[in-house]
Amino acid sequence: MVERCKACGFCVEFCPTKVLALSSAFNSKGYHPPHVVNPEKCSGCDLCGMYCPDFAIYGYKLPNAAPQKGVPDEG
């Protein structure tokens, strides 16, 4: 998943709770994929997944619905 990322920044910009930020790490194509900076804030709304034009990220709600997160940070 991380290899699909082209660092457009849509997920970072439009995350309603600002969970993500572009990291300083590179993927093999030289892009900076996002990483989770505020995991406790993630609501699992999957808006990042809706926006991601490269199908490289998605969000989900954990079933044992503690007010928890679960953005499997680009894989």
Partner: protein, 286 residues
């Protein structure tokens, strides 16, 4: 890795990823919305066919794991019309770009709308011919710099919702790639509609349109969509024309009912043939 998978994954030919769309291009976002609409509307994927023309958006047919066909330039709608007439049980989706649908296939678009053929047309409008190098398209707004109009385009642009409404479409909506949830809902709604449905999606082309016009990258364009788009359901389509940096009117503009092509064909045959017309479950060529 968890048990969860990306909801769009089952709809993709993952062996073909990563796709060729540029960083910041919105076509992938529209595919996400399309996949969510398919999940939401619980449509039988066996009864679904997706037809694309040529262009950046035309590549969708090659990336989705559905019965899909990548037709010649501009001919997505005629191919889809044939599919629908030969097998009326199919849900036929035409997924193509503005150049393919409104320029090269412009006549097919208006005549399919006129006949009210039961197709769901998703038109990703990036305001330019993107795959061929950024030439002026019929949807390019006036004054835009393109590779064929280096001093700005002098032509007025097509207002696609107005065009298809005038031609007779029963469902017309426009969203941008910023309006992901609304777009997914709109696509799901179109699946419940019988007749010619047209959904225009305004999408960034950071490599050719935004770069040449100094409008920033894909993310800047998405912010512009967020800031400048205004939802006006039922807005008169004559007033929803696009400009370079002005307001974008989005929403569901038209939702009406009129008999689709196959219903009209049956009625006409029944009227002129009288008793000789035998109603069949399907109208098939024999």
């Amino acid at each position: 890795m968890s048990d969860f998978t990306n909801p769009v994954e089952p709809f993709l030919r993952t062996d073909r990823m990563p796709h060729i769309w540029c960083p910041g291009c919105g076509i992938g976002t529209t595919v996400n919305c399309f996949a969510r609409a398919l999940i939401e509307s619980k449509i039988d994927l066996e009864s679904l066919a997706l037809v694309s023309g040529i262009g950046c958006t035309g590549r969708v047919a090659g990336y989705v794991k559905l019965d899909s066909f990548h037709t010649t330039h501009g001919r997505a709608i005629p191919f889809a019309t044939g599919l629908k007439l030969a097998n009326p049980k199919l849900n036929v989706v035409v997924y193509s770009g503005d150049g393919d649908l409104s320029a090269i296939g412009g006549n097919h678009l208006i005549h399919a709308a006129r006949r009210n053929i039961d197709l769901k047309v998703i038109c990703v409008n990036n305001l330019i011919y993107a795959m061929t190098g950024g030439q002026t398209a019929p949807t390019t707004p006036s004054h835009a710099i393109t590779s064929t109009s280096p001093y700005g385009s002098c032509e007025p642009a097509f207002n696609l919702p107005h065009l298809v409404e005038a031609a007779g479409a029963v469902y017309v909506a426009r969203w941008t790639t910023f309006h992901v949830r609304q777009l997914a809902r709109s696509i799901a709604e179109a699946f419940n509609k019988k007749g010619f449905s047209f959904i225009e999606v305004i999408s960034p082309c950071p490599t050719l349109f935004q770069r040449r016009n100094k409008l920033g990258d894909g993310l800047d364009t998405m912010k512009y969509y967020k800031e400048k788009s205004k939802v006006k359901h039922g807005a008169p389509t004559s007033e929803v024309g696009m400009t370079m940096t002005g307001e974008i009117i989005v929403g569901k503009f038209v939702d009406r009912d009129r008999p689709d092509y196959q219903t009209m064909a049956r009625a006409q045959l029944a009227e002129s043939l009288g008793d000789r017309f035998v109603e069949q479950a399907e109208m098939v060529c024999s």
